[in-house]
């Protein structure tokens, strides 16, 4: 244990995803030794991102206004919604330039081990978006791993009665990984070759 504020910093860093106690310590001491101007810039970026960036009221993607850039763009096809786990997946799919519809960001995937159930994801919001029947295709682009598959199966079953077309990205994506790790060509191809999900 270190003294007061140093330990506080280590504790706070340790709560970040992917940062273990050892890394938290390393980052903390890096910050201690860094140029004050650099640290101020980091602190400013952290505060600013919380002040200026919020989540799109419609799709849950990061946004600077009430609606994100994509939801606010009238040229995007409102009849197709692509469901992803995280905002970073939106970025990955946008890079392919393969998709002209809109998104829905769930905020994760079903994972009982981590205590994440359907009620912790933005599923209610998705169902509300589908209620008026204007959406004709739902593309389930959750990660190609077990939790992503399970979430896709769950969603497909939920909306089955609504009679819209439900598709899943074609296989060929690196299995077990994150969507964001797939390169543009592979992801683009998976989009083109998406198949009907039968549950």
């Amino acid at each position: 244990m270190y003294e007061g504020v140093v330990q506080d910093l280590i504790d706070e860093l340790g709560r970040l995803p992917g940062v273990g106690p050892k890394s938290a310590q390393r980052i903390a001491f890096h910050v201690l030794q860094a140029d004050p101007a650099d640290v101020r810039r980091l602190a400013a970026a952290l505060t600013e991102v919380k002040e200026k960036v919020r989540f799109c009221a419609v799709c849950g993607n990061v946004a600077q206004e009430e609606h994100c850039r994509i939801c606010a763009d009238p040229r995007r096809d409102a009849a197709v919604i692509c469901v992803v786990e995280e905002p970073k997946d939106v970025v990955a799919i946008e890079r392919t330039r393969e998709f002209r519809g809109r998104y829905h960001v769930l905020g994760g995937a079903i994972s009982p081990i981590e205590g994440v159930g359907p009620e912790d994801l933005r599923i209610r919001e998705l169902l509300a978006r589908l209620a008026d029947g204007a959406v004709t295709e739902l593309i389930l682009a959750t990660d190609p791993n077990l939790e992503g598959e399970a979430t896709a199966t769950y969603l497909a079953r939920m909306v089955k009665a609504m009679g819209l077309k439900v598709t899943r990205l074609a296989s060929g994506l690196p299995v077990g990984g994150d969507l964001e790790y797939a390169d543009e060509v592979t992801l683009g191809r998976a989009f083109e070759g998406r198949r009907l999900l039968d549950v």
Binding site: S111, I113, P118
Partner: protein, 386 residues
């Protein structure tokens, strides 16, 4: 295939060790606790990425050191491959092939194939069902490294489903009679049935292939000892389709069994059917081996299971890499003179057979070949070879 060189750094009792090996029989002898098993354990680790003695990696790192290295040069199929693994307990291990860029250790699987028999294998006969399931699953992966994924997928689904069942069971207890939302359980059932069916189908296939080989191996080690039998008993009971059934059929059976056992599962908060609850029943002369077989019989049956594995891997050498390396740790001391000689005959033609024994005289004369003396942390070619 055979190992031409083994290098260790901070592995078990060895700060460093360099051993050059040839094909044929290689015997390591020396007093107790000098590091004979440690050597062959390292060879097994390179092949299976796990120890046959411990489940975690921490004991493999020499006490006081931070990480261990195992490197082996393998000759097979007309080429030589250098395999390296860095063992970092508690963190990700790293591996390299032919001094290339670091790869995931899984990439090593298949380059070196071994079959290891050790005193611990007595648990194959006397131990829990889990020991026999592990035997089957490890052999599956040794035959087809791709199946490591099938095994992992099943374990992951099972973990998720058990986590869900646990919270459901807890919620029910907290609020008596409350009806928890089971819609996600249906999803996990579907995934468990699919992954479980794939694993079960592979195991059934394997048991069918092993059965005649185990019986034959047992008959050769212990002639007149009765028939050795293997039977795969599914946790779904009599509903388990016959060996050779399609995964789709198994999936339907497993899904139905999950539906049937759901009330108990929700009550107890754990998955009660699936390959993690299946049994491999071993029999000798019409009686169950566990609980009936004598010590010597159990030992011979365990050995027969490993020799059958060896025969199986030898037969399906799709890549033309040659026989797996056969490792016999401390096996001769337990056998009477006649069984020793029979075993020696059985394995003498293997491409490479690594043998350990505390007493040099325990290694049958029929097993001529290189001999090493292991003592005081050093591995030296033996002056008194045969």
């Amino acid at each position: 295939m055979h190992l031409t060189h083994l290098s260790l750094a901070d592995f078990r009792s060895y700060p460093r060790a360099e051993v050059s090996l040839g094909p044929g029989v290689v015997a390591f002898t020396g007093p107790n606790g000098q590091g004979k098993t440690n050597l062959v354990e390292a060879v097994g680790y390179l092949a299976a990425l796990g120890s046959h003695r411990v489940s975690g990696d921490a004991p493999l790192v020499r006490s006081g050191a931070e990480r261990a290295y195992v490197r082996g040069a393998v000759q097979g199929g007309g080429r030589s491959t250098l395999l390296e693994v860095e063992i970092n307990p508690g963190r990700a291990n790293r591996a390299r092939i032919n001094r290339g860029a670091p790869v995931r250790p899984r990439e090593l699987l298949g380059s070196l194939r071994t079959v290891l028999f050790a005193p611990e294998d007595l648990t194959l006969v006397k131990g829990d069902p889990g020991d026999r399931r592990r035997f089957l699953d490890e052999l599956l992966v040794a035959r087809a490294p791709r199946l490591a994924g099938v095994r992992q997928d099943y374990e992951r689904v099972l973990k998720q489903r058990n986590a869900l069942l646990r919270t459901v069971a807890m919620a029910r207890r907290a609020a008596r009679g409350a009806k928890p939302d089971l819609s996600t359980l249906d999803v996990w059932d579907a995934h468990l049935a699919r992954a479980g069916a794939e694993l079960t189908a592979r195991r059934l296939e394997l048991v069918a292939a092993l059965r005649p080989l185990v019986d034959a191996a047992y008959a050769r080690i212990a002639p007149g000892g009765g028939e050795a039998s293997l039977e795969y008993r599914g946790s779904v009971g009599a509903a388990l389709p016959a060996e050779g059934s399609e995964p789709a059929e198994l999936e339907a059976v497993l899904a139905a069994a999950l539906a049937e056992s759901r009330p108990q599962e929700v009550e107890r908060g754990v998955t009660l059917v699936g390959p993690h609850r299946d049994e491999l029943l071993l029999g000798l002369g019409g009686l169950p081996a566990k609980g009936y077989a004598s010590h010597g019989e159990s030992w011979s049956l365990a050995l027969a299971l490993r020799l059958a594995s060896y025969d199986l891997l030898r037969a399906d050498d799709g890549q033309g890499l040659g026989d797996p390396v056969l490792i016999l740790d401390d096996v001769f001391a337990e056998l009477d003179a006649r069984r020793r000689d029979r075993l020696a005959e059985l394995v003498a033609d293997g491409e490479q057979v690594l043998v350990t024994a505390a007493v040099p005289e325990d290694v049958p004369a029929a097993l001529s070949g290189a001999r090493f003396e292991v003592a005081d942390g050093a591995v030296r070619p033996s002056a008194v070879g045969s």
